[in-house]
């Protein structure tokens, strides 16, 4: 085990910022009132929520009335898709999405398919991109919803959201985007981009876990997902998670204020890491688009080796990274995203995702590059696939 502790998995989750924790603290046991209550400490909570709503709305150019707090990014995605599907099924039952969505969208689509909806999963190109033309071509008279993620959680590819929004608007189809990975990394303007619904999750931008937002443009027809009390104007029931709501707004406020610096820094770390891995390690492939990608995202496939072993050896050296999406590691399936960009199964199993964040420095990249090539080499020497490859090469050479 190592005494180093280098966290390179900010796409999985981020630590909560000290300023955010500080903002949350009073709401645990001083201003703990239920925001639905009319007495003084209830009104304090209510006010805190409404201020948070304003901050979140401001961050994406929305109106406060269009912001609904949820218990996670996943809940926001479920609500967006199921809510729009149920409310608009008279109009049609066809939904368009991509084959590289997060499971929160994909599994919800599969649920809708089991319940009579039809879903088109647009294929992506080798970089993980879809084109506006693909979307346009997939639209049918009965299409009621287009859901396309802003940025991919595994390979970091950023989609042409504004162009897709324009098409959706022209055709009068509801357009949802899962912006869980994009928030805090990319400027988003729901008006300018013609986004009707947008999901976010605070723990991806140094806010707390267990709190998300669904933006729903005024006038979008959508049924409710969690029924009960009159919270969130009756549209999302459940006692409001006041500390988390306050924390989310604080985290977003800081993220938006620092976005340019943050991106510059992360892009530099990212590009250096990509360059050095390509220079120092043979049989590798960069996954995702080389330019249209999240500033902190590096994703490589290493031929002949398997991802979990790679992660374990990195962990033993004090480096935390991931292989495909952290959320899917409970499953044994190779990443559906890597398969969608055309990697063969065995290569998909051997991917490494590094996602940089705030506290990372060039020294972290130095250390990563000190240990990574050796680890890859060690696993290859243990791999029957590498043995087979080498023997084949030898044969070719000797022939």
């Amino acid at each position: 085990m190592s005494d180093r502790n280098i966290y390179l998995d900010h796409s999985a989750t981020t630590p909560v910022r000290p300023e955010v924790i500080e903002a949350m603290m009073p709401y645990f046991n001083q201003r703990y009132g239920n925001p639905s209550s009319i007495y003084s400490i209830g009104r304090d909570s209510k006010k805190a929520i409404e201020e948070a709503r304003q901050t979140v709305a401001g961050a994406i150019g929305a109106q406060p009335r269009e912001i609904f707090f949820t218990g996670s990014g996943t809940e926001a995605d479920n609500w967006a898709l199921k809510g729009a599907a149920l409310a608009n099924q008279q109009k049609g039952k066809h939904i368009i999405t991509t084959s590289i969505e997060h499971h929160a969208v994909l599994h919800t689509c599969q649920y809708l398919e089991r319940n009579g909806f039809e879903v088109t999963y647009l294929p992506v190109d080798i970089d993980g991109l879809i084109t506006p033309e693909q979307v346009k071509a997939a639209i049918r008279p009965d299409t009621i919803l287009i859901s396309i993620m802003f940025a991919n959680n595994e390979i970091g590819t950023i989609q042409p959201i504004a162009e897709i929004g324009k098409i959706a608007k022209e055709k009068g189809i509801i357009f949802h985007t899962d912006a869980v990975q994009a928030m805090g990394n990319v400027s988003i303007d729901v008006e300018g981009m013609n986004i009707d619904m947008l999901s976010m999750s605070a723990h991806k931008f140094y806010g707390p876990k267990g709190i998300g937002v669904l933006y729903v443009k005024k006038g979008v027809k959508q049924s409710y997902f969690i029924h009960g009390g009159a919270q969130e104007r009756g549209r999302r029931a459940g006692t409001e998670n006041v500390p988390a709501i306050v924390g989310m707004a604080k985290a977003l406020e800081i993220a938006i204020a620092n976005m340019d610096n943050y991106n510059q820094k992360l892009t530099a770390l990212r590009d250096r890491t990509i360059r050095e891995i390509e220079e120092k390690i043979p049989f590798v492939k960069l996954n995702g688009h080389r330019k249209d990608r999240l500033p902190g995202n590096v994703n490589f496939s290493f031929d002949f080796i398997e991802g979990e072993s790679l992660l374990l050896l990195l962990d033993m050296k004090g480096i935390a990274a991931s292989s495909g999406s952290a959320c899917t590691s409970g499953s044994l399936d190779p990443s559906h995203v890597l398969l969608a960009i055309g990697l063969p199964h065995e290569t998909a199993h051997g991917s490494l995702r590094i996602s940089f964040g705030e506290e990372n420095t060039d020294a972290d990249v130095d250390y990563l590059m000190e240990v990574l090539p050796g680890i890859v080499q060690r696993l290859r020497e243990m791999s029957p696939l590498y043995e087979a490859h080498c023997k084949q090469q030898e044969t070719q050479v000797t022939v």
Partner: protein, 148 residues
């Protein structure tokens, strides 16, 4: 999730490598499923005198390979055939439920290598060959994550 023993066998795997003049070689698994185990046995007088492996796979796959080679060494062929996946897992102080199939792989690798040895030595018919690497990958994957 992994026991200390699994992590030990993963980070310091015993018997990694090839035996160039192996008496039996077995390879099981499927790169599509994310794991392949190749086992080399040296057998003298019906006793396994050496074992080595190469594995492409997760931490559990590497550790079970390592443990399996340790377990077979010194055993007779018959004894080795009796090693179950449970035994391999137990020798590692257990495996997480989702990783139990890796111990299957180890059991199968032993059987496959012994079968190869027997075939080479005319000890069984060629077509009795049990194709151990069957549709395991699909089976395993579909057992997980299914709505009840």
């Amino acid at each position: 999730m992994y026991s200390e023993k699994v992590l030990d066998h993963f980070s310091n795997p015993r018997n990694v490598g090839e035996i160039v003049d192996a008496d039996g070689v077995g390879q099981v698994g499927n790169p599509k499923c994310g794991d392949i185990m190749k086992m080399y046995l040296k057998i003298e007088d019906n006793i396994i005198v050496d074992a080595k492996f190469k594995t492409f796979g997760c931490g559990a796959a590497v550790a079970t390979s390592s443990m399996a080679t340790e377990l077979v060494k010194g055993k007779t062929v018959q004894e080795a055939l009796e090693i179950t996946n449970q035994a391999v897992a137990e020798a590692l102080d257990g495996l997480p439920p989702v990783k139990m199939h890796c111990s299957n792989l180890a059991e199968e690798a032993i059987k496959s290598a012994i079968e190869d040895y027997r075939m080479k030595n005319g000890l069984i018919d060629e077509d009795s060959s049990c194709n151990v690497c069957c549709k395991r990958c699909e089976d395993v994957h579909h057992a997980i994550d299914v709505e009840e």
